[in-house]
């Protein structure tokens, strides 16, 4: 089992208007971690708004683009194929098990994600292709920036669960989770230490034929 070690919690500011804000800094052994998905969960969290149009997760240059797509629960995602070769996108993740057999162009039906969780995407034709769809049932989430910092604002005070997930966490990992009561002390900041795996090689191998 992958063990989690929580290192420190720092500061969450409480805003003047009665809503609280949370600032989280995500690091690993090498320093700040970018693109970690930081989210707050709890019974009092409202369902996120689902847009009418579907999200796009295209395949470009034999990669999934974007690598990590964060969507609200109930949203649909289209998988437009921008490459000249066909792809066979699949997921065996419990959150959403699907496949779109060999196709080109944009499949007719987008895929709707009704269960919160992380969905790993692969292509049965191109094994190196890896993509993630993070299905959140909370509107309060943010991505860490280059300095590893992510902030959430306008959160009503109360009890929550702070979750941090990153694509380089081990397969099947639920992510970093910790209860959090808002507001935090004035200068309290939260620093999350993740144990991440090396970045997977997502570069397509040189195939010898044009792409």
């Amino acid at each position: 089992m992958i063990r989690w070690s929580t290192v420190a919690l720092v500061c969450v500011g409480l805003c003047d208007d009665g809503y609280a804000a949370v600032a989280v800094r995500v690091v690993d052994a090498d320093g700040p971690v970018t693109d970690a998905v930081v989210s707050l969960h709890g019974p009092s969290v409202p369902a996120p708004a689902v847009p009418a149009t579907s999200y796009n997760l295209s395949q470009r240059d034999l990669r999934f683009d974007p690598h990590v797509l964060v969507i609200p629960r109930g949203a649909s995602v289209s998988f437009p194929n921008r490459d000249r070769v066909r792809h066979h996108v699949y997921s065996f993740s419990p959150a959403r098990n699907f496949e779109i057999k060999l196709y080109s162009g944009t499949p007719i039906d987008p895929v709707r994600f009704d269960t919160a969780g992380t969905v790993e995407l692969g292509c049965n034709v191109h094994d190196w292709m890896l993509g993630f769809i993070v299905v959140l049932d909370t509107p309060w989430w943010a991505r860490s920036d280059q300095s590893g910092e992510a902030s959430l604002a306008d959160i009503p005070p109360g009890d929550y669960e702070l979750r941090v997930w990153h694509s380089r966490l081990p397969p099947g990992s639920p992510g970093w989770r910790q209860p959090l009561t808002l507001p935090l002390a004035a200068d309290e900041r939260i620093e999350v230490m993740l144990q991440l795996q090396p970045a997977p090689d997502l570069e397509p191998p040189s195939l010898g034929f044009g792409s």
Binding site: Y90, F92, G122, C123, D127, L130
Partner: protein
């Protein structure tokens, strides 16, 4: 114990050397071969191990690919993702069959079995997964149920890894046999004790190409180390090298019999070659030894011949081209040959000296006796035996004494030449030898007495001619004694002794040669004893004088007394002068005897004169005395000593004595005559001297031999001889004495012939001086004696 021959030792040494060389090289080559075999075995084992390892790894890759295909199979993954156990199980069996795995496990991301599959061992799985991290696409060799297995692991990606597919394949006999076909070596795969799993399973037969029993034996074999080792298994001895493949031990084995078959074949061939070489070298060694020892043996044989006195055969060792050898042995042979030649030459010289007389070059006594012995042996059965002629020169001692030894030697050489000439002409088979002094021996190999006597005559005739010497002419005379085998003797000694006796007899008898007369040797023996006794006789007073009166027929008075020797031998009694005088002459004692007689006679004469008797004394001289040049001087002193009137002494000698060497004899007679003594020829008539010759002699008397006188009255011839001799003597102015007068008739006859004196038994026997004195008293009245006494 005799030492082995040089040749044998040489052969042995060479053989041993070759044997040692062979053994050494055999040993060295064998060691090299063995080393090569071992190195070959190591190399084969190494390459077999490498091949086996490659094959196994290749199989692993093949298996891995199969498993990877399975892990990547979308259906399989879908089935796995479905979570439906029945679906999963069926898909599972399908794929397991497809890749031919003995074991197939699907594990989740944590390594836990997804299905309740055949039992997997958590420890095994964990160790496999750990190793998988360092060998991502490797194959892992582990024990499963105590049997060696090859495991491959493929991750299940969806798309990230969600689990593992683990496939296990037994490393079994089938694989081992397959590998054996490839590598030619036996292989065994086994699980070391420390790698065994939990012990729930008992050790089973590992995968092996060996027989079951050998395989089972391998279970307990040590596993540590990688170096080659030797295992004795029931299938034979094996050379084995072991290698670890992960946790499985791979043993590569080579059957030693198979491995060493070639070595054994080589070794056999090598041994045969060594034997051949040994046999060849034995032959060569024997040949070599023979080439060395054969000439040595020949040299030894030649040296042995020389040692036995056979110098006649020269020899040389021929080389290959027929010329004499040039090497050391050739040099030795040449040296030996030179030595042989030298010895031969020296021995011939020595033999010649040993068997020849240095002066005359004639064979010597030894050679002559040898020749005689050979002749005796040859003629042993025939009628004719060898004959011996023993010759000596008359009066040779006088030649030496008077003319000197050089002349004597010259005489001997001339005589030898003449004798040789005679033999060469008529008696080629005979030899003449010089025995010493003036003695020559002639041996006729096969002869009868007649032939021997003819030869004697020829020899003596050859000496008849005068010998022309630088200083003078010399007349030689010689006597010969003859002995003829087998009548006269059958041994060289007896023949020689009897020839000697015959020679003596010839000289005594006045004959020129004389055949041996049977029985003479006994007398001769007696003579020798007497000669010995004679030496002492004078000192022992055994010899005395008798006197026989000589009657003057005119006056009737005794004019002289002849002194006669008597020898009273203590054992033999009275010994006749006729017997011992010759002995005295031969032994050189006659001179001493004569002087003794002269002294005693003159002594007696003086006594008679003192007693008043008037008479002279007559003394006989031996022929030898005529060569006693000191005799006149001695006699003069003696006459002086006794104051004897010389005319009273009459010296008598036979005509033979004078005639033997006329010159010397006459000369001596004159010297004696000069002393004033009277000289008489004794035994006149028996010799051969001529009256004319007699006339030249300064003698005063003739004594007619008694052989004529004894039968004077009965034999007319003798009477004529006696009467004419008396007349002759008177005509030459000599007095004549008749000896042997034993009867009155004879005496009367002599008187009628006018003979001057008579002597004989009729008048008186020889008597002692004392008896004579009595006799004289009867004859001569005292006044007459007184008148003479003075």
């Amino acid at each position: 114990m005799t030492a082995p021959s040089f040749g044998a030792r040489l052969t042995l040494a060479i053989c041993l050397l070759v044997l040692a060389t062979q053994a050494l090289s055999w040993w060295a080559v064998d060691a090299k071969l063995r080393e090569a075999a071992v190195s070959e075995a190591e190399s084969r084992l190494r390459s077999a191990a490498m091949v086996a390892q490659r094959v196994i790894e290749f199989r692993g890759q093949r298996l891995l690919q199969g498993v990877e295909v399975l892990a990547a199979d979308y259906g399989f993954r879908a089935a796995l993702a479905s979570g439906d156990a029945a679906t999963m199980r069926s898909a599972f069996a399908n794929h397991r069959q497809r890749i031919g795995a003995d074991l197939l496990w699907v594990l989740d991301i944590d390594g836990a079995p997804v299905l309740d599959q055949e039992e997997s061992t958590p420890a095994l799985i964990e160790s496999l997964l750990v190793r998988q991290q360092s060998h991502p696409r490797g194959s892992h060799k582990r024990a499963w149920r105590n049997l060696p297995h090859q495991f491959v692991i493929a991750p299940i990606m969806a798309p990230r890894r969600i689990g593992w597919v683990v496939a296990g394949f037994e490393i079994d006999r089938e694989l081992a046999l397959e590998l054996k076909q490839l590598t030619g070596s036996d292989l065994a795969f086994r699980v070391p004790v420390d790698a065994l799993d939990d012990g729930e399973y008992t050790a089973a037969e590992p995968g092996s190409s060996l027989a079951a029993a050998d395989t089972a034996a391998l279970i307990d074999a040590p596993t540590n180390g990688q170096s080659m080792r030797r295992w004795q298994l029931s299938g034979g001895a094996f050379l084995a090298a072991s290698q670890s493949l992960d946790q499985v031990r791979m043993d590569v084995l080579l059957n030693e019999d198979e491995l060493y078959r070639e070595l054994r074949r080589l070794r056999t061939e090598l041994g045969l070659l060594a034997l051949l070489a040994l046999a060849g070298s034995v032959l060569v060694a024997m040949w070599l030894a023979r080439t060395v020892t054969r000439p040595l043996q020949r040299l030894a044989a030649a040296a042995s011949r020389i040692g036995q006195g056979d110098y006649a055969h020269g020899f040389s060792l021929s080389g290959r081209n027929g010329s004499s050898r040039q090497d050391e042995i050739g040099a030795l042979a040449n040296t030996l040959e030179e030595m042989r030649g030298g010895i031969q030459a020296r021995e011939e010289t020595i033999a010649h000296q040993a068997f020849h007389d240095a002066l005359t070059g004639l064979p010597n006594r030894a050679r002559a006796l040898e020749f005689l012995r050979e002749a005796l042996e040859r003629g042993g059965e025939g009628e004719l035996g060898p004959a011996l002629l023993l010759m000596d020169l008359d009066r040779f001692k006088d030649i030496n004494d008077t003319l000197g030894h050089p002349v004597g030697d010259e005489v001997l050489v001339r005589v030898a030449t003449r004798l040789g000439a005679v033999l060469q002409t008529d008696f080629e088979s005979a030899i003449v030898a010089r025995l010493g002094g003036d003695e020559f021996l002639i041996v006729l190999p096969a002869s009868d007495a007649g032939q021997a006597e003819r030869l004697a005559a020829s020899l003596l005739a050859s000496l008849g001619e005068a010998l022309e010497l630088p200083q003078m002419q010399l007349m030689l005379d010689a006597s010969i004694g003859i002995a003829v085998a087998p009548v006269d003797g059958t041994t060289p000694a007896s023949l020689l002794s009897r020839a000697d006796i015959a020679l003596y007899d010839a000289k005594q008898g006045g004959a020129r040669w004389q055949r041996y007369r049977p029985g003479r040797d006994a007398q001769q023996g007696e003579r020798l004893a007497l000669a010995n006794d004679l030496r002492l006789a004078l000192a022992r007073d055994e010899i005395s004088l008798r006197f026989q009166p000589k009657l003057d027929l005119r006056s009737g008075q005794c004019s002289h007394a002849e002194a006669l020797l008597r020898w009273q031998h203590p054992r033999l009694g009275n010994i006749s002068p006729e017997l011992f005088i010759p002995i005295a002459e031969q032994t050189g004692r006659i001179t001493e005897l004569t002087r003794w007689v002269l002294r005693r006679s003159l002594e007696q004469l003086r006594q008679w004169q003192q007693e008043g008797f008037t008479l002279g004394v007559a003394v006989n001289l031996s022929p030898h005395d005529l060569y006693d040049i000191e005799l006149p001087g001695f006699l003069a002193e003696l006459l002086e000593e006794f104051g004897t009137e010389p005319a009273l002494l009459v010296l008598e000698m036979t005509e033979g004595a004078v005639m033997r060497d006329a010159n010397q004899g006459v000369q001596m007679l004159h010297r004696l005559k000069a002393l004033g003594v009277r000289l008489a020829i004794d035994d006149f008539g028996t010799g051969h001297s001529s009256l004319a010759y007699l006339k030249r002699l300064p003698v005063d008397e003739l004594k007619i031999d008694k052989s004529f006188v004894l039968a004077l009255t009965s034999d007319g011839d003798d009477a004529v001889i006696v009467r004419s001799t008396i007349q002759l003597g008177h005509n030459m102015g000599l007095k004549v004495v008749a000896e042997g007068v034993e009867s009155e008739q004879v005496l009367a006859q002599l008187r009628s012939y006018g003979c001057d004196h008579a002597q004989g038994f009729l008048i008186s026997r020889p008597v002692h001086a004392a008896q004579l004195r009595d006799w004289l008293r009867l004859q001569q009245p005292a006044p007459a004696r007184k008148a003479h006494a003075r």
